[in-house]
Amino acid sequence: MIPISLIQSTAEVLMDKAAIEIPQDYLDGLQHAAKTEDGDLSSFVLKAMLDNYEAAKEDRRAMCGDTGVPRWFVKMGNDARVEGGMVALEAALRRATANATNGVPLRPNRVHPLWRTDHDNNVGIGAPEIEYGFEPEGEWIDLITVHKGGLFGTDYRMLFPSDGIQGIKRFYLDSLMAFGKRGLACQPAIIGIGLGGSKDICMTLGKRASTLRIVGSRNSDPRIAEMEDEFKDLGNSIGMGAMGFVGKNMVIDCNIEVGYCHTGGMPMSVHAFCLSSRRAVARIHADGRVEHRTDPDWFTDYQRRETVEWEPQREAAE
């Protein structure tokens, strides 16, 4: 049984880490980009961003003044048990979000869409979002917080099988061009592409591809992995860099996730995580151990399963 107090205290630490510490995989990617960049304005920008990560860590202040819209992904091993159940867990995550907004401090970004009511704590109707995933084994629970920006760099389109790969490329480029100009997407970024699923899940897949997979990861389908490489290079061949200045680095990595969709369609979404790719992860074990990491490791074979039943152990034995 995992104590609810441990969930809340761990969640508060994660809120702090996500806002302040740039994940190592993204930092490595950006440092590599900074070495290859030769546009003088975009080089200056990347250098300033690298200085900024240092300043944030040194001062323990948020990397960016826009601290995004905090949200939670909760993944549980099938045998995990939480004190007070899932209603208690949701309350703990809402408390941690509110406490950290005042504590770090974060910007209280969340308002009512019509009345613009601001509780000054990033909590409100449907906020923070809490989404769930499960794994076949284990008594642990993974808490993942992502504070993605909320305004630019994301788009959706219903494509069809006849649009084909060239149609996918076109919409990908359109999204990068539209949001890359003047740097609205805060690139160079991890770009996530969702392909398939129903319309809402298509958006979810793309968002998760950008926020829950790390730089250098590849889809387990080798043909999709090849597309990821190709699309990364395509995005970087536009000639646009940081802030929309002339440059070579628009895409730090491109991650693609797929889901089965309607036979007549091929929905697609594109998402840009930003220069402050805020994510933090902790695994809480049943015995109270807490392990921090920055790789959400969300897309396991189980999450991408295609069959009716999940019986990997029997398959392995055969």
């Binding site: 900024n52 001062d59 990397m63 003044g65 308002v111 494509l159 149609g167 940081a242 802030m243 930003c274």
Partner: protein, 219 residues
């Protein structure tokens, strides 16, 4: 690239000297104002709680990551800008009313905006860098002098008055000719666009916006 330290109540000569792409650090008082402040001051006709432009001629399109402590003091962590293009509808009146000479934000405005009301007001646009170098800019906040209208507008939309000490970096994104740094860069990138798109094809199902004629079909 040139580095310049600029006052938030700059002289006309200092502004005239700025060139596109210069890196600027700011000294003096700067206030945040975005849609909430513009609507309250210009549409609801509330009295602006500062002497403008004598106290500050620098309008930051920003909401900080900050809190008001129970004792009334402030903690300001990171500060970065929000995209400015959405505020074009209020800026001409705001400039006329407040004498703002430096509009500081994200992404700049169009050269049309610059020519129509920045240049006649002797104003230029400074872009934040990145975006966003929130921690570096936060270091440039020497003191939070006041926060106005936080009860009416919430912390994110409130009017924060901050004392800048070599706050930066910012990049000069417009000049007194009304030229636009981002449009200059767009034009260079545009030369390559046809090559990048080669072989791709438009979507089978169009969207309104791709046709502005609502009597058209989108197939």
């Amino acid at each position: 690239m040139r580095e310049i330290v600029l006052s938030t109540t700059p002289t006309g000569e200092a502004i005239a000297d700025l060139r596109l792409g210069d890196v600027v650090y700011l000294d003096g008082l700067m206030y945040t104002a975005r849609e909430g402040v513009y609507m309250r001051a210009l549409e609801d006709k509330a009295n602006i709680p500062m002497e403008l432009p004598s106290q500050s001629a620098a309008n930051f399109h920003c909401s900080p990551a900050a809190r008001i402590n129970p004792d009334g003091s402030f903690d300001m962590g990171a500060v970065t800008a929000t995209a400015s293009f959405r505020f074009a509808k209020w800026l001409p009146e705001w400039m006329a009313k407040t004498g703002a000479k430096l509009i500081v934000g994200k992404g700049g405005m169009t050269s049309k905006d610059y020519k129509e009301y920045f240049v006649p007001n002797g104003a230029v646009y400074l872009s934040t860098v990145g975006y966003g170098t929130g921690a570096l800019l936060g270091r440039g906040v020497e003191n939070v002098e006041a926060v106005h209208w936080n009860e009416e507008l919430g912390l994110a939309q409130a009017m924060w008055v901050i004392k800048c000490n070599r706050m930066g970096p910012f990049i000069v994104a417009s000049d007194l000719n009304g030229d636009c740094l981002f449009e200059r860069e767009n034009a260079k990138i545009a030369e390559n666009v046809a090559r990048v798109y080669e072989g791709t094809k438009p979507a089978v199902l169009k969207r309104y916006g791709e046709s502005d004629d609502r009597t058209d079909e989108v197939i």
